[in-house]
Symmetry: C2
Subunit: 353 residues, 2 copies
């Protein structure tokens, strides 16, 4: 599918962000939630900072301590055979059956502001920083849903007891109210619809299941945005396609004449992440009407193919103006970029079920 990538891409890289923590380096400014506020476009960046180890034989794992409201560094020797360092994002305890023991970086949310959607200025300070016991390994991949004059910002909350989705809200991007964890673990990639449908709020979510099943997209309903239920399985993997190994919601769904359009990410088992589209029934978003046969965006530009974790395009938010879908996306778990897609092209590329 035709995609117009901005000449300014990548729009932001780790070099554009000053570390918040002394002795850390910024390794990622990516997977930003998107909002418009006060005539500006806001990227709510996921900023990942990694402690710089003075000793090449030691890896430092950052852990937020809510009692001290500060970050502790856990020292792990690289020759400690209990640990596996092969995935640059995590430190795995090989004596445990599954999952990771530590992350190699701490993520939080920082705002970048722009008048034209292409040149962004990054705030000096974090916007939302870990503050809870369920956030000690950081907060990741924010999305923003505006309902009336309130912006709901929700993100993966990561800690040693699991990854769930927590939420804050703000009206002014200054004063923030924390609403706790709205989806318990193992869950991420939550997307709250921007309006009620037939009297209910809806959200997509992505359980990471262990007993049976695969990382696929579910939908839930709510009457207050805080408590969620009536969980239903929405969309699954597709064998041998670009979304054969894992899928999850991407951008906040938006209304079209044909249905709710959700731009989601799908990956292969080789961890190549593309973006595709799901079309959901306008009156009942738990019904899938159509789905992209081919991706709407693939990681082919240099800044998408190469980086901290290469071969990834991962959108958390779009701005829609008529036929133009400005899709902001994280590239290679490193930087932010934007591509404009034609809404008509996306709709024409759908395969109806």
């Amino acid at each position: 599918m035709k995609a117009y990538r901005y000449e300014q891409n990548p729009l932001l890289t780790p070099l554009d962000v000053k570390p918040h923590h002394a002795g850390f380096e910024v390794i990622g400014a990516f997977n930003a939630g998107i909002a418009t506020y006060g005539g500006e476009i806001f990227m709510l960046l996921r900023v990942a900072e990694r402690p710089i180890s003075p000793n090449p034989g030691i890896v430092l794992a950052p852990v937020y301590d809510p009692d001290k409201n500060g970050v502790e560094l856990v020292e792990i020797r690289k020759d400690d055979t209990r640990y596996d360092f092969s995935d640059p994002r995590v430190i795995v305890d090989v004596t445990v059956g599954s999952g990771f023991a530590y992350l190699t970086s701490l993520s939080y949310i920082r705002i970048a502001r722009s008048k034209d959607g292409r040149r962004f200025a990054v705030d000096d300070k974090p916007f939302v920083y870990p503050s809870q016991r369920l956030e000690t390994f950081g907060i990741e991949d924010p999305r923003v849903t505006q309902i009336g004059d309130t912006y709901y910002v929700y993100f993966s909350a990561v800690s040693p007891v699991g990854i769930g989705e927590s939420m804050v809200s703000t009206k002014d991007f200054v004063n923030v109210t924390h609403h706790g964890m709205i989806f318990g673990p193992d869950n991420k990639d939550v997307l709250i619809f921007p309006e009620k449908v037939n009297g209910k709020y809806y959200a997509l979510h992505r359980p990471t299941v262990k007993s049976v099943g695969y990382p696929e997209i579910w939908i839930a309903e709510s009457d207050n945005l805080l408590y969620w239920g009536n969980h239903k399985h929405l969309a699954g993997l597709r064998g041998d396609m670009w979304d054969s190994a894992r899928i999850g919601g991407g951008a906040v769904p938006f209304r079209t004449e044909k249905g709710w359009l959700e731009l989601y990410h799908g990956a292969t088992k080789e961890h190549r992440y593309c973006m595709g589209a799901l079309l959901l029934d306008l009156d009942d978003p738990s019904k899938v009407i159509a789905r992209s046969g081919v991706p709407v965006l693939e990681p082919i530009a240099d800044y998408e193919a190469n980086g901290f974790f290469g071969g990834v395009v991962f959108s958390c938010g779009v701005i829609v103006e008529g036929d133009v879908v400005k899709m902001y996306y994280g590239a290679a778990d490193t930087s932010m970029a934007c591509a404009e897609l034609s809404l008509q092209d996306i709709l024409d590329g759908l395969v109806y079920l």
Copy 2:
């Protein structure tokens, strides 16, 4: 701890239950939710039925089909090296990283009735049977919370897309309303408190996490029993103890002068399941006050140590009368039994945090 096991134990075994499906055998009548109704004690039994294979070289996996409202049998050859049959409960596809492909039996809920709590008569027909796409592998381990004149019955709903917790309600154990899945996958061992605390309903739940963490007990809140949020981690594993590998809620929590008492199950990595106690703050059940140092019940009787899955005591409900806690429990994933415990003994055995 002293436990008085009924002389009639096991109270019910698979031999007491006629199969609902032609050509099936009952292999389990266990893990029953407990209710009192019309002067009787009800066990809401989990009945597990297994198709009898006419060919020893073929395993039959039962799958409920919601479109046909019937059970299909999937034939799997025992010499098919893609599958592992070593766990008698499940059939594992070894080409997939984790989880099972099929269950070897189909579970549903059937009522057993008693005047004296010791001699039970089993209904001829199922009480709650799979009826939804999220229940095609069966429904398991029901619990019952009575609030006013309504009985809320909730259970693990198992299907190829995951295990979550679904709920029905009834006022008369005849007419049943289905409320859908109240906790999305991977989740089980939900326990809804029998009254609001400070204006909120509370429930324990047990996510099965994959990315990071362990099978531990969480707590959530609600204002309508259908939608749940503000998830918090409540209680974790304890190294080298009887609850070192997995824990989950057991019986419906009940109010004592000292706090909410939750009788939960804990297991070792060798899958030995015991029952223990958690004491939660009366005004804020997300606070753990105390926890059993030693189990309140261990699988030592013959019918607990031996069976379809031996070494298991697993309670889903109790009846409390003064100091007497009548703990009904599944034994060895096969039968039902009851032991009377002293409430004072349980409280005296708690270790305060």
